[in-house]
Structure formats: structure tokens, C-alpha cells
Amino acid sequence: MQSIKKILIGIAFSPNLKPNIFEAIRMANMFGAQLVGVHVGEKTNKKQNQLADLILEAPKLKYPIKTVWQKGKPVDVILNTAVNEKIDLLVLGALQQENLYKYYVGSVAREITRKASCSVLLLIKPSVKRVKCNHIVVNGLKDKRTTETIEASFLVSKALECKRITIVEEISQKEIEVKVSDDYSLRKANINKEKLKRREDSRVNKILGNINTEGISVKIQSIFGKRGYSIGHYAKVKRADLLVMNAPSKTSILDRIFPHDIEYILTELPTDVLIVK
């Protein structure tokens, strides 16, 4: 994700339509990108008018919005549009569990997230008024996609004027190798942890060497926990505004039964999540 030129948003005529549109328009303006809206369903005058009214009410767009009306299966339509329009970023809204401050990704959005060819931004709380993004948490795990993800997080933070990024390395229990059972093995495990931390830090610092970090306070934090889940937990504890993650390499039906990495995040969104592809 070198730059963002085209942003796709799904338009459903739900109560959330207004905040969704406002959020997308602001996003498009901040990135200097064109907004593409896709509606899965019939094109009626009523819908068209409603949409036009909203756009009039919203902040002015730098580039005019393009709307696609198409009937079919939502997943297919949105994915096809993303490919046809050469979309860089797809924006989806999350759902909230009743009476709970917990958010999850609906089944349709989840399928789109898994199959999308572009980066996906999942918003838990789109709002009409702008809520400033203050803190971005990005994964720094050892993966070939990580470099691109970290670069993307800086791109986003510059566009959103966010001044603080935390790069989180998730160190899994297996890597420590020593199992803690008494004082001696505890000491050994802690020495190993320290070593791993230094190794991970130097790896991330290498990536940061090629990025212009001026004006942004960057922190590297190692956490110990289950990969994919813990970073969400960390983002929640630190009350981050955006979590940036690698796209999963491949997911099969087994991954959904035994969730890992991204699947954890999809069942319980800690905050807004950007999945970089």
C-alpha cells in the first residue's frame, strides 16, 4: 500500500448510513483520494435522493464521488467492484453486540475481509463529528508482510495527523523455549525473553531505518501472549484509535474453527482495524 488513491465504501440504507458516509468522505479528503460508493440492490429515485442529500450535508469532497449500483450477492458485488475500480482501501462498518461495548464483524463483512484483494478498514464507531485519531498500534511480528504494514501505518498516521505509533511485537510462549517450573528455569526464561526482545527490537528498528518518522513519537513494545489476539487486547488496554495488522497469508475453514491471528480480531474488534494488503 504505497498510497491511497481510491476508497470504496459499501452503501446500505441503514441508520448508520450518515456516520458511515461522513467518515468515508473525511477519510477520502485526508488521503486526497477519490471515493467510490457501491450499493448492492436496486437503483431507485428515493435512495438516490437520500444519498445526494447526505453528500450535500457532509464536508465538501475534493474529488466527486462515484456511485455503483448493482444487484447480486453482496460479497461478490463488493469484491468485484474493488477489483474493477482498482480500489486501494475498502471501508466496512462493524456491528455492536446488544447492550455491550463490544464490536464484531458481521458475516458478510467478514467474508469480504478474508477475500478482499485490497486493504480493508473496519470501523467500529463511525461518527458524524470527527473524532481525532491519537494513537496507532501496529503489529511488528516477524513476517514478510510486516515491513509493508509498518510503512502503511506511517502513511496513515501522516494522513490522519496522528502523532503516536506503537509497534507491538508479539512474542509467543513457544519461542521462549524454557518452561517455567522453578526459580532456576524462571531465571533462564527471563534471560531468553530479554534476548528475544532485543532481537525483535533490532529487527523492527531495521525496518524503521527506512521510514521517515519525523514528528511522530514511536514506541516499540513487546508483549507476551497469543499471536493475533493479544495485540487486540493491548490496543484495548492502551485505548488505541487504530490497529494496523498484516493480512493473513491464507485462511481455510480450519482457521475459523481454531481461530488465530486475524480471526480473533474479527470476532471482537478492540478498536478500528486496518488490514494491510
Partner: protein, 730 residues
């Protein structure tokens, strides 16, 4: 060099370990004989288990001051195994059970290798308590008859209990000399057990109570033999039966039933109880260890497994770690595993040298020791304690207790687990909380400012406690740890109890362990181990329990002579003037610590509206100022989180202080007045202290660290910072 000094300390400590081993063996001898008898096995089998356990576990074990041998928890399981497998013939049953013991030893060894030492974490505390009480009642119900000189009592536990008064009357009215004397020895022995700890005589206390019983009953025999004209009144069948050649012929385990259903379930029950008893004991003994070492639980389980297999082949019972004998060891200054080894050697010596004397112990005397042990396990004290934790714990306890008595141990503990789970669902009125989050790795740990921070999500109960435990075990007890439950909707008694024991072990080893995020949770009782449930909104005061954190806040208040109040307030008027709270809605304020002008408090506020609403809990400080100062916010350069409401104002640089200007972001309306206000002294103060977010609204100052609840140490630091700042300003 280091190795040599280790050997030197070992040799140096040898004398006190030999002594300690000797004292322990005095307890182990009567207990071993008694436990074996109560299990329905030949008395010597208990001694064999103690000897094998002492020799094997002292060499292969992973703990330091524990003593191993036959355990009281196993009495009931082994007795039922012998009865069921023998189908009437106790000796045949014993041989079959030996085979089951060998298998359970193998299973224990495998558990140790698979590092399943944490298996016992999956059992709720109250259910285990209930099960242990049931075992106690089982032992008591059977042995009290033997104590009264009646060997023939048979039937279920309830029947046995029912016949106790009747049996007592028989004992009093009997014409049979043998029964009367045996019963009297039993009753006297029981009195010795009960009043032993109350007699404060140095010489009397040198010999442990069970050994007194042995000495008194053997003494009685020799009295009749040598001085009395009467014959020894107690008949042979009421005396202990030891083989003549103890180390000559060992009974062979009979493996012919190993595919029977009864056999398999006996193996499972024996293994279950043996591992639970050992794990509980190891955990408890670690707390007693004066050198504060951490036991290698899995290594210990492995060695217990090996010892059990060997013991089984030699005709002995299971080898488990036992708490009572271990604490005798610690009290007599045993310092390493050699004490366990010597206890075994002394037992061998006793058996070889005094086997003739030992034959003069009446069964009723040993039964008295067991009645006392059984009573200890099932004492009403335990029920009272459980009830204090909460009425729901009492339900779990009683259900487990009765199911165990009426059926067997395995069904008992299973029903106990199920009951606990159902009660948790009822309390939360929510099954999805558990179902949805059961498998999620809900514990996050990271290091921050040299502190370990652990956050627990969703719920924390016996079901997922092992996840929390594995993280907690990785923190050296000499460090600082903060565990935050504020994202957790429900915490059960098992977790609270374990957390408490962590906090104790941190305290012992010089670290600091703190629980935050529980204030204001609804709990079943005022007990510190009671379960906690999150309630939305302002809780009613009567349901509140003071948490440990609140107690420490009270202490800080006493220390600083500040006034502490735990109760809830809706708001502090002055706060709403601050820019920080212009976009944030204050929900409730609690735990206020205040002196004349400074107030420290926990605050819960929400950000955003409706769907975007988010509840935040944090600790802050407010200082009222006597003079007016300019409005400003001061923050660490680069963190723009808090000052969005001052958007439009620039960073104010103070002349001649480039370092301050570089490190801090200062903004406000009236630049000139602010420059005037920030004197060299104030700037030096900020430069040389920890970063806080500080905001002034002309009349007062708002100071906050992280946007989360602060631990006790952090609160002290904040209070100190605020006071010094106040002094400098005024």
C-alpha cells in the same frame, strides 16, 4: 567454587535435617500404620509407602522441604477399591488394588511429563473443599467404630454415621473386657490428639502426639505384662497385625483384572486424588519454606509417580506429598530433601529394631488418630469459612460433599464442577459470556516502566484460570506486578483465592503484587475471596465490599494523614471546568483521598456518545490553589492526546530553557502570563520529575498519569508529586 560451597552448606545443614527427619518419622510411623489400616490394607503397606517415598522422592523430587508417604485423602478411595475389587475377600482385593496403585503411579509419571501439574487448577476451590470434607467424613464414619472397639461395623457412610450413637452405648455398657479396654485406649488417644496442642510443656511437646499414643499404648501392654496380676485385656484381633519377616516376602500385585471397568475407575480415582492431594500440599508447603524457594511441581509429580510404582510392587500404598508431616519437618528446621530421606531411614530402623514392640499397639489407638484427621478435614470450621466467602460457595461445597458421600469421588467432583458452572451462569444471567469467551486467550502481559502489567479480559474463573496462572508464574516474585481486572466482567472465588496467594508470595519475596480494577464490583460477601461481578452504573453501597486496593488506599491515607473515603460521589464540581472534561462525561467518582487542598480520586467517565461510547476508569489528582494562575496545559512533547480542546493554540516555548521546550508541550490562551508563571524553579521541577499531564483552570490543577487506574505505588508517587508542585506554586 560455587559447587563446593553448595556441598559445604549441605553438609553443614545435615545435622538439623537428620534431627528433623527423626521427628517426622515419629509422626509418620503411627500415621502410616493407621492410614493403611483405615484403607483396609495390611498396616505395613503404609510404612512401605513412606519408606519408598522418602528414599525415591528425596533423590528425584523437585521440591525442598516436603515429606512424602501415604496420604489421608486416599484412604476412602483405596478402601472402596479393595472392597469392590476383592468382592468380599479383603486380601485378594488388596492385591488387585496394588496393581491399580502401580498403574496410577504410571499415570502420575505421565502427567508429570506432560506438565499437567496444573490439572488441579481446573477444579473450583469450593468443590475441592467439599470433596476433602467428604473424605474426612468417610474416614471418621468408619474409624470411630474401630475406636470404640467394634471392628464389625459395615455399610455405607450414612449408615455408619447413623450407628455411631448406638455403638457408643454398646461401648459403655459392654461386659466384654477386651472391647472396653480397647475403646478406652481409643478414647484416651483421641483426647491426647485433641489436647496435645493445648498443653504447653516443653518436654511433653518434644514427642509428637501420635507418638505419645504409641508410647502410652505400648507402655500399657508392658504394665500388664510385668506389674499387673491380670492378663493383658485386649484380645489379639483388636491388636495391630504385623508380619514376622517384614522385608522378607513382599505381596505380589495381581494384574488379572486390569481390563475391568471397576479396576479402571479405581485407577482414575486413585490418580485423581493422589495428584490433587500432592499438588495442594506442594503449594501449601512452598508457602512454609523459610528460604522461599519455588518447587518444580512437574518434577515432583514425576518422582511421586516413580515412587508409587515401586511402592505398589513392594506391597505399599500410593506415595503422595503430605502437608501435616511436611509442616512438622519445617517446624523442626528441615531445610532440604535429605530430611525426607532420613525420615525413611528412621522408619526402616524402627521397623527392624522395634517390630515386636509395635505389635502391641491396639487398633483403636490408631483409629483415634484417624478420627482426629477425618474431623480436621471435615471440621465445621471449614463450612463456616466457606459460608463467609459467599452463600453460593456453600451450595457448591454442600452439593459436592453430599454427592461424594452418596456416590463416589469422581461423580462428586464432576457434579461439583457442574454446579459451580451453573451457579456462575445464574449469577451472571448470561451463558454466552462463558461460551463465547472460553477458548479465547484472555490474558495479556507486558512490561512497562519496569513493571509487569497484566490485563484480563472477558471473564476469569476456574475454567480459564490456567491461562492466567501460566502468565503469573513467569513473573519473578521480586518484581512489581499490576494485574488489572477492569475489563473483566466476572471473577470467581477460585481466581480470587489464587490471586491472593500470589500476592502473599510476592510480599514474602520482596516484590509487589497489586490487583486493580475491582473496586465497585458486586460481590457475594465481604470476604476477600468472594467472587466479583461487574455492575453497570453506580452500585448500591450495601453490596460493596472493600477491596485490598481500597484497604491500601486507606493505609496511604493514614500514613500521609489524608482523609480517605471509599464511597461514590456523582461529581466534584470543580472538575467540570477543566478542558479535559469538556468532551468527557463524568459517571462516578470514588476512592477519594484528600488533604486540605489536594484530592486524589478514581474517576469513571465516558467518551463519545451512543454507539461510540466508551467507559474509562482512571486515577487523577486535583489541587485547589489559593491564588489565580493562568490557564494552560502541559504535556509531554509528542503526545497530543489530551489537548485537543486547546486546538488552535501553539506550543509555547520558554526562553533560555530549550530542553524544557523540547521535552514539554505547553499551551494556553494567555502566552505572556504563562511565560511569567513558569519561573526557573517551576521549570526545574518539571524537568527533574516524572511526566504527568497537567492542566490548570486558573483556580486549580488537574494531574493525571496514564489514563487508567493507578496502583498503590503510583498513587503514592502522584500524591508526592502533587504536594511538592503545590508547595512550589504557592
Amino acid at each position: 567454587m560455587k559447587k563446593k560451597s553448595a556441598i559445604n552448606t549441605f553438609i553443614g545443614e545435615l545435622p538439623k535435617n537428620i534431627f528433623s527427619g527423626f521427628v517426622v518419622s515419629l509422626v509418620a510411623l503411627p500415621l502410616g500404620l493407621g492410614l493403611a489400616l483405615a484403607s483396609g490394607a495390611p498396616p505395613i503397606s503404609g510404612i512401605i509407602a513412606a519408606i519408598v517415598g522418602g528414599l525415591v522422592c528425596s533423590i528425584l523430587g523437585g521440591s525442598n522441604v516436603t515429606i512424602t508417604g501415604p496420604g489421608n485423602g486416599l484412604v476412602v478411595v483405596i478402601l472402596s477399591a479393595i472392597t469392590i475389587l476383592g468382592e468380599g475377600d479383603m486380601y485378594e482385593g488388596y492385591l488387585f488394588t496394588l496393581a491399580a496403585i502401580v498403574f496410577s503411579g504410571i499415570l502420575m509419571f505421565i502427567l508429570g511429563i506432560l506438565r499437567l501439574g496444573s490439572l488441579s487448577n481446573f477444579f473450583p476451590s469450593s468443590a475441592i473443599q467439599g470433596m476433602l470434607a467428604a473424605i474426612g467424613i468417610g474416614i471418621l464414619a468408619k474409624q470411630i467404630h474401630v475406636m470404640f472397639g467394634n471392628l464389625g461395623a459395615k455399610g455405607s457412610i450414612l449408615e455408619l454415621l447413623y450407628f455411631i450413637p448406638e455403638d457408643f452405648m454398646i461401648f459403655i455398657q459392654t461386659n466384654d473386657q477386651s472391647v472396653f479396654y480397647a475403646g478406652s485406649v481409643g478414647v484416651v488417644s483421641l483426647l491426647i490428639m485433641i489436647f496435645y496442642s493445648k498443653i504447653r510443656n516443653k518436654y511433653f511437646q518434644l514427642v509428637p502426639a501420635p507418638m505419645w499414643i504409641v508410647l502410652v499404648s505400648i507402655g500399657m501392654y508392658y504394665y500388664f505384662e510385668m506389674f499387673s496380676i491380670n492378663n493383658y485385656p485386649i484380645s489379639d484381633e483388636l491388636m495391630i497385625n504385623l508380619p514376622d519377616k517384614i522385608f522378607g516376602e513382599f505381596p505380589q500385585p495381581n494384574f488379572s483384572k486390569i481390563i475391568d471397568y471397576e479396576f479402571i475407575s479405581a485407577v482414575i480415582a486413585i490418580t485423581l486424588i493422589a495428584s490433587i492431594e500432592s499438588l495442594l500440599s506442594i503449594k501449601a508447603v512452598d508457602k512454609l519454606d523459610p528460604e522461599k524457594r519455588r518447587s518444580n511441581i512437574n518434577k515432583d509429580i514425576r518422582s511421586l509417580g516413580i515412587a508409587t510404582v515401586i511402592s505398589g510392587f513392594l506391597g505399599g500404598l500410593n506415595v503422595v506429598t503430605v502437608i501435616a508431616r511436611s509442616s512438622v519437618n519445617v517446624n523442626n528446621r528441615g531445610s532440604n530433601r535429605s530430611a525426607n530421606f532420613f525420615h525413611a531411614l528412621f522408619l526402616v530402623a524402627f521397623i527392624v529394631l522395634f517390630s515386636n514392640e509395635l505389635k502391641h499397639i491396639p487398633l483403636s489407638a490408631l483409629a483415634a488418630i484417624l478420627v482426629y484427621t477425618g474431623y480436621k478435614l471435615a471440621s465445621p470450621e471449614n463450612i463456616k469459612k466457606t459460608f463467609q466467602i459467599g452463600s453460593e460457595q456453600l451450595i457448591i461445597f454442600l452439593v459436592t460433599l453430599f454427592v461424594t458421600i452418596l456416590t463416589n469421588l469422581i461423580s462428586g467432583i464432576l457434579v461439583g464442577i457442574l454446579t459451580t458452572f451453573i451457579i456462575h451462569i445464574i449469577i451472571n444471567k448470561n451463558i454466552l459470556l462463558f461460551v463465547r469467551n472460553l477458548l479465547k486467550p484472555n490474558v495479556l502481559m507486558f512490561e512497562e516502566d519496569d513493571k509487569y502489567f497484566i490485563s484480563v479480559d472477558n471473564f476469569s474463573s476456574f475454567l480459564n484460570y490456567s491461562k492466567l496462572k501460566s502468565k503469573l508464574d513467569q513473573i519473578p516474585e521480586t518484581e512489581d506486578a499490576i494485574i488489572d481486572f477492569s475489563m473483566c466482567d466476572f471473577i470467581d472465588h477460585t481466581v480470587m483465592e489464587n490471586i491472593n496467594s500470589y500476592s502473599e508470595s510476592f510480599k514474602r519475596k520482596g516484590g509487589h503484587f497489586e490487583v486493580i480494577g475491582l473496586d465497585g464490583y458486586k460481590s457475594g460477601s465481604k470476604h476477600p475471596f468472594a467472587l466479583r461481578k461487574f455492575v453497570i452504573g453506580k452500585p448500591k453501597d450495601k453490596n460493596l465490599t472493600i477491596t485490598k486496593r481500597q484497604k491500601s488506599l486507606q493505609n496511604i491515607g493514614d500514613e500521609l494523614r489524608w482523609d480517605y473515603k471509599a464511597e461514590y460521589k456523582d461529581r466534584i464540581e470543580e472538575l467540570t471546568d477543566f478542558g479535559y472534561f469538556r468532551t468527557r462525561q463524568i459517571n462516578k467518582i470514588s476512592n477519594t483521598l484528600s488533604s486540605k487542598q489536594c484530592t486524589l480520586f478514581d474517576i469513571e467517565f465516558s467518551e463519545g456518545e451512543l454507539i461510540a461510547k466508551q467507559n474509562v476508569k482512571a486515577t487523577m489528582m486535583y489541587i485547589e490553589l489559593k491564588k489565580l494562575i493562568p490557564q494552560f496545559t502541559l504535556d509531554r512533547e509528542g503526545i497530543f492526546e489530551y489537548i485537543i480542546h486547546f486546538a488552535g493554540f501553539k506550543d509555547i516555548d520558554i526562553d533560555h530553557h530549550p530542553d524544557f521546550s523540547k521535552r514539554f508541550y505547553l499551551s494556553g490562551k494567555d502566552e505572556n502570563k504563562i511565560r511569567e508563571f513558569f519561573t526557573d524553579e517551576i521549570i526545574l521541577f518539571f524537568e527533574s520529575n516524572k511526566y504527568y499531564h497537567i492542566e490548570s483552570n486558573e483556580k486549580g490543577l488537574l494531574i493525571l498519569g496514564n489514563e487508567r487506574l493507578a496502583g498503590v505505588k503510583e498513587i503514592k508517587a502522584l500524591a508526592d508529586f502533587g504536594q511538592r508542585l503545590k508547595q512550589i506554586i504557592s
